[in-house]
């Protein structure tokens, strides 16, 4: 589904990614873990088009997308729930969700009817969002915003979902809830690439994992293999 080869990217003069490669097979959950500053978020942004890689390719379903603007990549079936969630603060919860399905809905009128089914599915997954459907997204708590960001990504009926640091800034209890949701989505067959600084949580839900260090993949393997790997631990705590 997604093949990233030899990706080089950065901001200005600093090259954060120094030849990263990874693969996500359809129907699986792949985790990308590593210390902060290793380049995980930069990888996500390079995949979804928010930044342009200086070298390397990104293939989505065999189609090269590394030079396309993010709106085009989104319309090809990629949904990115970005780091920091980035919900549309002044808009309501329901509006945020509807916008998630932008590529699928009629632009002017009739979109609410068309999206009703998808909305119901997301509300079933996140009942708390249904309660707050008219509330301004900017006033939701961190955990609720994360649910909204995931829900928004789901509304696009994506082929591939990128989840960037869903646990960031959230209390442990909420983090557990978020990962329960990710587990549910996995059971429904969603293909996901998950970037997390909480390695244990990510490894628990992933089918395969990559460990990033200084802009490159240092180690890869199944979660079981990685748990036994000393280098993984070293990549986190010095």
């Amino acid at each position: 589904m997604l093949v990233v080869s030899d990706l080089h990217a950065g901001y200005g003069l600093s090259e954060v990614l120094d030849g990263a490669s990874l693969t996500v097979k359809a129907g699986t959950v792949v985790a990308l873990i590593g210390a902060n500053g290793a380049g995980k978020t930069t990888t996500m942004r390079a995949i979804s088009g928010m930044i342009r890689p200086s070298k390397g390719t990104v293939l989505l379903d065999g189609k090269p997308v590394q030079d396309l603007p993010p709106s085009r990549i989104a319309r090809l079936g990629l949904a990115h729930s970005p780091e920091g969630r980035k919900v549309f603060g002044p808009l309501s919860v329901e509006d945020n969700l509807l916008l998630g399905a932008y590529r699928l809905l009629p632009r002017f009128f009739g979109f609410r009817k068309r999206a009703a089914g998808d909305l119901d599915r997301v509300y079933a997954l996140f009942p708390r969002l249904r309660e707050r459907r008219r509330q301004q997204a900017g006033t939701l708590s961190g955990g609720e915003q994360q649910m909204l960001a995931i829900g928004r990504a789901l509304m696009a009926r994506p082929k591939l979902m990128l989840l960037d640091e869903p646990s960031m800034g959230l209390a442990p209890v909420i983090v557990q809830e978020v990962f329960r949701t990710i587990q549910r989505l996995k059971q429904e067959g969603m293909t996901m690439l998950l970037v997390e600084q909480f390695a244990k949580a990510a490894l628990a839900v992933a089918d395969y994992a990559y460990v990033m260090e200084r802009g490159r993949i240092a180690v890869e393997g199944s979660p079981a293999e990685l748990h036994k790997n000393e280098r993984v631990i070293a990549a986190y705590l010095g």
Partner: protein, 292 residues
């Protein structure tokens, strides 16, 4: 000055002030999506009004002329976006300030030569017989200004809230990157905002022309007032521009009567400089958080 004169001046002034508010509203639309405004907006008002007048003199009926004028304004807005704004936005510079000024100057010159330098009257089917209302005389033409302004602002607000495209517009204004991730093209949204802004400017011209006549300099003075309103009200509050616009219009009208018509401009300009000094983000606007 008696109270009735004061009231009369205030009301007439406030109705004209609504035109400033409308132009300022146009600024808000483009600022929301792209953090830029068209410094040549006055010329857009003037050229659209002149074009509309030409259509009228060609004998076309009003129900054709007005929409045509509005579409023309929208097209001009798109032209401004493409020629003067997009390059600067791509380069993340503020070059659009100078470029929109230049474009405005160019349009002024074209208008001078195509339509001449004289002010021409704008015939309107609406009567100029004043209606007496609560001790104040208001003409239907002046009232039409209020109707037009509120109607168009209302329609655009409905568009923003009720259509998906309108919500996408708000989304890009709130967070451009996140909007792109949803598949919304930021560039197209900016184009839309400029088209709407141009249309709004055209409407302002059409509404005010029966009162002020049409000529190359018709909007030069108005535009500074609109800037004052936009800056004082902040570039983010729709309600604020209406209030400030009416207030400014009333103030000007009174100043013009008491100090002499040449001083008409002064309150607005002074207000602008003072307001900028005291609260740069405007009275209704929000404070900016810097990112490092």
């Amino acid at each position: 000055m008696t109270l009735s004169i004061l009231a009369q001046l205030a009301v007439s002034g406030a109705l004209i002030g609504l035109v400033y508010a409308l132009i300022a509203y146009g600024f808000q639309l483009t600022f929301a999506t792209s953090k830029s405004i068209n410094f040549g907006q006055g010329e857009l008002v003037m050229v659209s009004a002149s074009f509309t007048l030409t259509l009228i003199t060609l004998g076309l009926p009003y129900w054709v002329v007005v929409p045509a004028g509005l579409l023309f304004g929208a097209a001009l807005g798109l032209f401004v976006e493409r020629a003067a704004v997009r390059l600067a936005l791509e380069q993340k510079s503020e070059g659009w300030i100078l470029l929109t000024i230049i474009l405005g100057l160019f349009l002024f010159s074209v208008a001078e030569n195509v339509w001449g330098r004289d002010d021409r009257p704008f015939p309107t089917p609406i009567s100029s017989e004043p209606i007496h209302f609560l001790g104040v005389d208001v003409t239907p033409v002046e009232l039409s200004v209020a109707v037009g302004v509120f109607a168009v602002m209302g329609l655009i607000e409905v568009f923003k809230r009720q259509t998906l495209l309108g919500k996408a517009f708000e989304a890009i204004s709130a967070d451009r990157d996140a909007g792109e991730l949803m598949g919304i093209s930021a560039t197209h949204t900016v184009m839309l905002s400029y088209a709407l802004s141009g249309m709004v400017a055209a409407l302002a011209g059409i509404l005010v022309s029966p009162i002020t006549t049409v000529g190359p300099t018709m909007a030069s003075a108005m535009i500074l007032k609109a800037f004052s309103v936009a800056v004082v009200a902040g570039l983010e509050s729709g309600f604020g521009v209406v209030v400030i616009g009416m207030f400014l219009g009333a103030l000007e009208s009174i100043a013009s009567y008491s100090l002499g018509s040449g001083w008409r401009e002064a309150p607005g300009l002074l207000l602008l400089i003072l307001a900028l000094a005291v609260r740069p983000t405007g009275v209704f606007g929000k404070a900016i958080i810097r990112k490092v």
